[in-house]
Symmetry: C2
Subunit: 242 residues, 2 copies
DNA sequence: GTCAAGAAGATTGTTGACAATCATACAAAA
DNA sequence: TTTTGTATGATTGTCAACAATCTTCTTGAC
């Protein structure tokens, strides 16, 4: 997947600035895990690698900060953000609310007919993946596609920007909530219900369903994170009272 | 009011960088209306005014863009963002959801006792202002303080950042929704109910109340904006289908 | 009179060097 | 042994100049 940062999407399609190109490359490395959380990113090194000066690199790092992928500390530079369990929980909580708003707006949108066929096809695909435990990765991929489909259909540009950003940040944790066949079965039922109420134009119910699904996903992810007892240090935010 | 941009808050308290200082100054001018929506901000001019080079100015403009106060167009520079009615509506919709989340989290927070006295005092102040039609401005100011009080008490840093940013963007439109004594009376009742359910720890009801209040505020503001038929052009976003 | 092509000016994008600041290592004293 | 002070090296912050690009004005043809 390309996975361009949210902040790059609304800009000019042609002639991406150097900063944007560099941000896209770095973003890919962070999201795929090539750059591990906590890793320090130094301007000079990046500048030398891409054969540019430090100016565009600085700007690229600010773009990544805007997407929450790096944390910039004054006089100390940029670190790949490492989310604590609490912060993952926070992001899921926000997503629960805003995904609810998104799906309500879509269900109440008169133009929603245009995307219903694609949506239904993807959900059917989802059901297929849910039946076969071996298709776990494809399941997660399909959910991502559905999410992009819905967010992309959104007229509210600010909501779209925020959701894209939150999506990017939780990409690494998303699969956690869908790691068991039982969870996937629960998930696919939720999506099927959602499609149904969107078709009916029932915004309130769409919101309720979306919210319940993200909350369930959050609880499953948190549970697994706690079990795993991952490194949860938050680089650069020593004021945390965890 | 200082009105520092949201993005400046979590940074180092001492030794603000030049970019941050410039951003704070420009932010003040935009929020207070000295820089009108649609106005072009040119790097060289700002650099000369503050007697710095264009580097920090560039960075300051990116910070302001992060807060939604300016819109940066590739190869064309920065403009003070001018929100269309539709965009104001969008922001209010997002705020309705996230204010709901905020107040629910606060109502469910065991530590909420610490801020309840201050909150109750401010709401009492609010009731006083609501009785006197001449105190309209003070009413709006008090609502802003209450908002900051609640957002400041939030443990969820990401939610706080997003809310601060949305708050900054809608500052100019906020008073619109509170311009009539009738609306203020409605508003103060909502706040009183909110304090009550927060004290009781009733998160669900807190969410419902907050959401209803912001939605009502949105409808009132939109109504007035439509009546006023203000300039609603969105600089730099010609793709708008208004 | 209208439209198109081109030149001039203005503005942003990029660069490399310099200055300020911070982290680390080492040494000296308690 | 621990702590404090200092020096050194590394890294970010800032600057001024150059390059690329866009806008605007002028000129010319139809």
């Amino acid at each position: 997947m390309p996975s361009t940062p949210a902040s790059l999407v609304p800009r000019a399609p042609l002639t991406l600035s150097l900063a944007e190109q560099i941000a896209a490359r770095l973003s890919e490395r962070i999201v795929t895990g090539i750059y591990a959380p906590g890793r320090r990113i130094m301007e000079q090194a990046v500048a030398e690698e891409f054969v540019v000066s430090r100016g565009p690199v600085r700007e690229a790092l600010r773009l990544l900060e805007k997407d929450g992928l790096v944390t910039i500390l004054p006089r100390r530079g940029a670190l790949v953000t490492n989310l604590s369990i609490g912060e993952v929980e926070e992001i899921f909580d926000i997503r629960a609310m805003l995904n609810g708003l998104r799906d309500r707006l879509i269900a109440e949108d008169a133009e929603r007919e245009h995307m219903l066929p694609a949506l239904e096809a993807e959900v059917a695909n989802l059901a297929r993946c849910a039946r076969d435990p071996a298709l776990g990765d494809e399941y997660v991929e399909t959910v991502s596609r559905i999410d992009r489909l819905l967010t992309g259909a959104l007229g509210n540009r600010r909501l779209k920007t925020i959701l894209d950003s939150l999506m990017l940040q939780t990409l690494r944790y998303r699969q956690l909530g869908l790691s068991t066949p039982a969870r996937r079965k629960q998930s696919v039922q939720s999506w099927q219900k959602l499609v149904k109420v969107i078709r009916e134009g029932n915004g309130e119910e769409a919101e309720r369903i979306a919210r319940a699904r993200v909350t369930a996903s959050r609880d499953a992810a948190i549970e697994l994170l706690r079990r795993g007892t991952r490194k949860t240090a938050v680089p650069g935010k020593p004021s945390g009272s965890d």
